[in-house]
């Protein structure tokens, strides 16, 4: 199989860079009006490219598709030569998340079309450059299958997000940006050590097999010696002295901590509310929509595939943290007076479901988890857009200052209701599908008990509680703070345009989930096969 030719994946991946290059050559002052159009057009073209990928994608195949693999560098270490390669391709899980990324991006850009932040902070050109850089690195995370290149993309996502929060954020932006940077870096750099170990011991950084090279995953899964693959490769006769006393477990944690911070899994979540509250609207939308999914995606892609034995050993513990996250996130969310913080903590709760789904380690759990990643991206992205638009008009995030928005803006109120209900998991809308499948998965899991399902279900109820509280405080009742001019109540075209795709997806995924499950079936089965007892 020739895998060195240019693939559609590469084209999709590098389209944002084309946009970035165009932006770079534009003059930030004289072309100020067209900056956003260039960024928007690029994101639309990227979206079209990813839809082309979807059309080309064969959901019946468990192999990576649209693969390209070029050797990038050869590292000689002692007696072994290790290849680092540019290796991209998609399976069902990657495909869905690439689509999510390219879908959220134009919406986030539309969301910043009329934003006031540029009048205050300026540097509009830089803003869109960072958005393009962010899109490139996020797609990169989802499509590369070489550990080193993965790490490169993973780290690069930090830089634009850091600046987006730091330059265009609210009052405490510096604190939030630095906290975000250090927190995520601390996690990911431990992963680097684990990656280096994996590469050095197994002899390749490629996770999948392609072009005659055997990837790490295949090496792990076809290993038939005594003990596990990693223990067999591990330091001979040395007691590593770590939990569960195995190399594999240690490596598993190296990866997991990086991902857990990104997700964030309780108790690694403390950066999230700060980052979300301070970030500009587009930043929050992307952060909630895509960036957090990088963590859960990483767990599915690397932890489960590379360290199956350690996954089994750790599954109840991590799933327990997931359940704690569900309830804790919901609880704290309910206590917030700040709308944006409320939505931020709801992310902790929703991603707890994803974690439980993943560590159910069966087909329903994993499919539900992957779908829930997308659902959460769409619903919470939408919620952050709502908060952003409220803030543009009223300049406050305190719930007490709102009230009766529905009366003034009925269309906006209706949209918000749909999105809130979708986030709550109302049957017929997208949120329900993901959560329901996850709960089904956890119930049928060989690794998790009934208690996990029970407490996770509590989270569904709590979600209704805090989201209805928000909806009631903001939209119901009498209009508390009327705007100075009636014009403020109308939605601009770009604001409406941002919601149309979201609403479509909310209903489409809710009513016809089979389209998306089809995409996942085979890819998920391949992973689940590792854990069948």
């Amino acid at each position: 199989m020739d895998v060195t030719g240019l693939s559609l994946t590469t084209i999709t991946l590098f389209l944002p860079i084309v946009g970035l290059a165009i932006l770079l050559f534009m003059n930030g002052e004289t072309h100020r009006g067209s900056l956003k159009w260039v960024a928007f057009a690029t994101s639309i073209v990227t979206f079209v490219a990813s839809v082309l990928m979807w059309i080309n994608f064969d959901p019946g195949s468990a192999e990576l598709q649209m693969v390209q693999r070029n050797t990038w560098a050869e590292i000689t270490l002692g007696e072994s030569v290790i290849n680092v390669s540019y290796f991209v391709g998609v399976d069902g899980i990657s495909m869905l998340l690439v689509l999510l990324t390219t879908f959220i991006m134009p919406i986030a850009i539309l969301g910043s079309f009329g934003s006031h932040i540029f009048e205050e902070r300026g540097r509009e050109k830089l803003y869109y450059i960072f958005l393009m850089l962010l899109e490139w690195s996020m797609i990169g995370v989802f499509v590369v299958h070489d550990l080193i290149i993965f790490y490169v993309f993973w780290e690069v996502t930090l830089v634009p997000m850091y600046f987006l929060i730091g330059i265009w954020g609210s009052e405490d932006r510096i604190y939030a940006a630095v906290k975000f940077f250090l927190y995520t870096m601390a996690g990911s750099i431990l992963m680097l050590i684990a990656i280096l170990y994996v590469g050095n011991r197994s002899g390749t950084f490629s996770t999948y097999s392609a072009g005659g090279d055997v990837g790490v995953i295949e090496r792990v899964q076809t290993f038939d010696g005594e003990g596990t693959y990693w223990d067999a490769l591990g330091p001979e006769g040395e007691d590593t002295g770590f939990l569960l006393n195995s190399v594999e477990s240690f490596l598993f944690l190296g990866f997991l901590i990086a991902f857990a911070i990104k997700v964030p899994i309780f108790p690694f979540h403390s950066w999230l509310p700060d980052a979300h509250v301070q970030a500009p609207t587009a930043g929050s939308v992307i952060l909630a929509g895509v960036l957090l999914k990088m963590g859960t995606y990483g767990i599915v892609r690397f932890n489960l595939n590379l360290f199956p034995e350690a996954t089994v050993a750790w599954a109840p513990t991590i799933a327990f943290l997931g359940v704690v996250g569900i309830i804790y996130g919901a609880w704290v969310s309910y206590a917030q007076d700040n709308v944006k913080k409320l939505v931020a903590y709801s992310s902790v709760s929703h991603l707890g479901f994803v974690v439980v789904g993943i560590f159910a380690l069966n087909a329903q759990g994993l499919q539900g988890a992957t779908l829930q990643m997308v659902n959460h991206g769409i619903s919470t992205g939408g919620l952050f857009l709502i908060v952003g638009m409220l803030y543009e008009r009223w300049h406050t995030k305190e719930m007490a200052d709102y009230g009766g928005v529905w009366k003034a803006m009925p269309l906006f109120g209706a949209i918000s209701l749909v999105i809130s209900l979708s986030s709550m998991g109302l049957p017929g809308l997208n949120g329900f599908i993901g959560e329901f499948t996850i709960l089904l998965g956890s119930l049928g899991s060989d690794y998790l008990g009934f208690a996990f399902t029970l407490f996770a279900t509590l989270g569904v109820i709590l979600a209704a509680v805090y989201l209805l509280k928000m909806f009631q405080h903001v939209f119901m009742g009498e209009l508390r703070n009327p705007l100075s001019s009636e014009d403020g109540y109308t939605l601009a075209w770009y604001e409406k345009a941002a919601y149309i795709p979201i609403i479509i997806m909310v209903f489409w995924m809710g009513l016809q989930p089979i389209v998306f499950f089809n995409l996942l079936d085979v890819s998920v089965d391949k992973i689940v096969a590792l854990f069948v007892r």
Binding site: W72, I75, T76, E79, Y151, A177, L190
Partner: protein, 512 residues
């Protein structure tokens, strides 16, 4: 007793062609003295131009002598070795000197201390460093070290030639003096160590030490004891030069007091020279220093301990610095710690070469990045020496967007963020450490990287996220300074993005 060699024998034995880059540069400095003497006041720019020309010629010579196909050669009666290691580090040193010369001219003029001697001394010093990286004999190590250091002592005190009794001149004098005394002190350690090694092995030639040391260490004799003490003293002596904990005390004061271009220059060349000698002595000469029932060299434990101390102290103390030069001084201590990780990893024989390659790439990345960062710090400094505090960077992104962008990339590279040269270096070094089984060291290395992110990112925070208060700093952003920054930036990005470039350049390096 001594037979005088024939001319042909002499030429064959000394093999001067292989030492051409270094000897050419040294000879060029003599020419530079004349140029400087006759150029006169109004043509004083001739000296820096001639200096750059010399660096360029030496670079060309380096390319010819050390083409990848060229075999390893010894020169100067076996005291100098011309291999890929020498060639690569020669190039790094020459580029470093070139950037430093570019930075210096306008700074010196503004400070009214522009003298032709500056360039002459800088070139002598880099010739010394070039001899040091090719040293194949403890005597050459010592001579080259002095050739490298003595001009640096003078350069550190260079501001005091304008004897106006100002605080700056005094600080510069203090810096030169401190550097000199501690440098002399460390040289004494080095020489004493070399003498003990000679006493134990009967030779100062590094390859011969390798042949003899193995048999000595096996036997329980006083020779083994002297050899071990000698090696310890060598590590101490070179440890002073490269500023690793606990031999780092002089660094912050010297770096702060010296004129900024000098600080930039010595933070790079002295470290490269010192580490090159350390790698040669430890790997080529003493990798056989293996005790019974052990697989790794004796000095690995020492190197590991030094690396850990250096990483922790350098990074944590840098956090509390408000002065940029002091911050970069502690950060340079920390970076010596990262290179020390590679030295420690090289203690395991199988990956000695991989670790060396990692160290070389790291030094190159550090050279580009650190010089670039110092160039930015230098250009925002005021004439009276103030303006070098971290708060003085506030709002630089608004007033000088290009400079701020360059500084951001330098800071990310020092942190080790991917797509910058710093990441490539860190990656190779940690790979080597993991391969050598030094997991604890690797984990401490990455964790201290996170600590370092804290103070590097603060620089970016100040430039981009805070606004400037008070009058703007009249930045010294002249053509040459900008060129220096651009060269450093190009190096940082090119070697960061095109990862294979760096690994291919060092792939031939093999000193074990």
């Amino acid at each position: 007793m001594f037979e005088s060699p024939t001319i042909a024998e002499f030429l064959a034995q000394s093999n001067l062609a292989s030492t051409l880059p270094a000897t050419l540069l040294l000879a060029w400095t003599l020419l530079l003295v004349l140029v400087d003497l006759f150029a006169g006041e109004e043509r004083e720019h001739w000296t820096p131009i001639a200096a750059c020309l010399g660096l360029g010629l030496s670079f060309l010579a380096n390319v010819f002598v050390y083409s990848p196909a060229a075999a390893e050669q010894v020169a100067l009666y076996g005291m100098f070795v011309a291999d890929a290691f020498t060639g690569f580090l020669n190039a790094v040193i020459l580029v470093a000197t070139f950037i430093a010369v570019l930075m210096s001219r306008d700074y010196l003029k503004r400070a009214e201390i522009h003298r032709g001697e500056f360039y002459i001394l800088a070139l002598i010093s880099s010739a010394g460093a070039m001899f040091m990286v090719g040293a194949n004999d403890l005597i050459i190590v010592f001579v080259a070290l002095e050739l490298l250091s003595i001009p640096l002592y003078i350069l550190a005190a260079f501001r005091s030639i304008k004897n106006d009794g100002s605080d700056l001149a005094l600080k510069s004098e203090e810096s030169g003096m401190k550097y000199f005394i501690l440098g002399a002190f460390s040289s004494a350690f080095l020489v004493f160590g070399a003498a003990l090694v000679y006493g134990a092995t009967g030779t100062t030639s590094i390859p011969q030490i390798f042949e003899i040391a193995g048999s000595i260490v096996g036997a329980t004799s006083s020779a083994a004891f002297y050899l071990l003490v000698g090696v310890a003293l060598l590590i101490v002596g070179l440890g002073f030069k490269v500023a690793v904990v606990p031999f780092h005390m002089w660094t912050p004061d010297v770096y702060e007091g010296a004129p900024t271009p000098v600080t930039a220059f010595m933070s790079v060349t002295a470290k490269i020279g010192g580490f090159a000698a350390l790698l040669r002595v430890l790997i080529t000469g003493l990798s056989v220093l293996v005790l019974a029932d052990s697989e790794v060299a004796v000095w690995q434990a020492t190197a590991t301990l030094i690396a850990i101390l250096t990483l922790i102290l350098g990074n944590f103390v840098a956090i509390s610095q408000r002065n940029l030069k002091r911050m970069l001084a502690y950060s340079s201590i920390a970076h010596a710690g990262y290179i020390m990780v590679a030295v420690a990893a090289a203690g395991s024989a199988v990956i000695a070469n991989a670790a060396t390659q990692g160290a070389l790439v790291y030094m190159m990345a550090y050279m580009f990045t650190n010089l670039g960062a110092f160039a930015v710090v230098m250009s925002i400094e005021r004439v009276d020496g103030s303006g070098g505090n971290i708060d003085d960077l506030n709002g630089l992104a608004q007033s000088r967007p290009l400079m701020a962008m360059a500084m951001t990339i330098f800071m990310l590279s020092l942190t080790g963020v991917p797509l910058t040269a710093g990441f490539v270096g860190k990656f190779m070094i940690f790979s080597a450490a993991v391969q050598a089984g030094l997991f604890g060291l690797a984990v401490i290395g990455v964790l201290t990287s996170v600590v370092s992110a804290f103070y590097y990112i603060r620089v970016v925070v100040n430039m981009y996220l805070r606004d400037h208060e008070g009058e703007l700093i009249p930045a010294l952003e002249t053509r040459y300074v900008r060129l220096a920054i651009n060269v450093a930036l190009a190096g940082t990005l090119v070697f960061g993005i095109f990862y294979p470039l760096a690994t291919n350049l060092v792939s031939m390096v093999s000193i074990a």
